[in-house]
């Protein structure tokens, strides 16, 4: 099963979604992964108080799917669901994705809490995904 990466706003709106390797829209499991990710948001709320780090490690699992999370200072959530990829790769991916998000947020034309449509951000995330997961 593919890996899905999402960015969720503090108000629980989906801002960005990427899948590695990219899959077609009709992929049945995509809905399932989205469902798993959103279901884990409640658990994330609790986990976030247990550590001082942005990176929260594995926060939830669903069958063989493991959900990893990273919460930024402005409580934007970066979530990733995978089936047993190396923890180290996930950690590095999320941290680098976070750096990309920070860069994106510094763009004066960036609107917080609006879906991320930037093509260059998308390309960079895809590159990052290729580097760690393919």
């Amino acid at each position: 099963m593919a890996i899905t990466f999402v960015i969720v706003s503090p108000q629980d709106q989906l801002l960005y979604e990427a899948t590695f390797p990219p899959v077609s829209q009709t992929d049945e499991t995509a809905h399932l992964r989205e469902f798993i990710l959103f279901a884990s948001l409640d658990i994330l709320e609790q986990v976030v108080w247990s550590t001082r780090d942005f990176y929260l490690k594995a926060i939830d699992r669903f069958n063989d799917q493991i959900i990893y999370g990273l919460v930024t200072a402005s409580s934007v959530r970066l979530l990733l669901v995978s089936d047993g990829k190396s923890e180290e790769a996930v950690k590095n991916f999320l941290q680098e994705a976070y750096e990309l998000y920070v860069k994106l947020a510094l763009n004066p034309f960036f609107e917080p809490c609006k879906p991320i449509l930037s093509t260059s951000f998308h390309e960079r995330i895809q590159k990052l995904g290729k580097k760690y997961f393919v």
Binding site: K103, L104, L106, N107, P108, F109, S118, S120
Partner: protein, 191 residues
């Protein structure tokens, strides 16, 4: 342009840069960014926004020239060519911390381009698709050059021809020499 003079100017630029007070590049980039956004909000039409940015730069330029001449150690320029070289080698270094190059002289030697690869104003910026073909994000710089030169009696027209934010390989500002203002003798009212 002799290379010894070019290197003297480079040194002057470095010295002026070393002496001047520094502020965080992020502060400048983000301030300018929110500034441009406000102007876009106010004027909406990208052409109008370009004009406003230029006007703003002009008002900076007519003041900045004093600071520049006082601190850079440049004495008078003998030609338009020299002025262009000094802008790119000394002024860009002094105020923006980057060095630009002058090229693309036309055959009449009254138009040239200032080219620079790095633009501290446009750090982090990604133009939304609706502006990539209309907005010149750093148009302020054109105004600064025009305003500064006007104060030393050189009338020019300035415009961006290439901008990395639009996907060009570099940033290029075209400067066209218009006229030299003559210092006017006060009108004699005794006759």
């Amino acid at each position: 342009m002799s290379s010894s003079r070019a290197s003297t100017w480079n040194k002057l630029g470095d010295a002026a840069y070393a002496k001047s007070e520094k502020v965080s590049a992020d502060l400048v980039a983000l301030t300018y960014g929110s500034f441009v956004r406000e102007i876009i909000k106010d004027f909406e039409e990208p052409d109008q926004v370009n004009k406003e940015l230029e006007k703003l730069g002009y008002n900076i330029g007519i003041r900045l020239i004093e600071d520049f001449l006082a601190k850079s150690g440049i004495s008078n320029c003998s030609s338009f060519e020299e002025s262009a070289e000094i802008i790119s080698r000394v002024a860009f270094k002094m105020f923006l911390g980057i060095r630009a190059t002058v090229s693309n002289w036309n055959s009449e030697h009254n138009s040239c381009s200032i080219i620079f690869d790095e633009n501290p104003l446009a750090e982090y910026v990604e133009l939304p698709p609706e502006y990539t073909h209309s907005l010149f994000y750093s148009n302020l710089l054109c105004g600064v050059i025009r305003g500064a030169l006007e104060m030393v009696q050189i009338i020019v027209e300035c415009e961006f021809v290439k901008d990395q934010l639009r996907g060009d390989d570099t940033n290029e500002i075209n400067i066209r020499f218009k006229e030299m203002l003559q210092e006017q003798v006060p009108w004699n009212d005794e006759e």
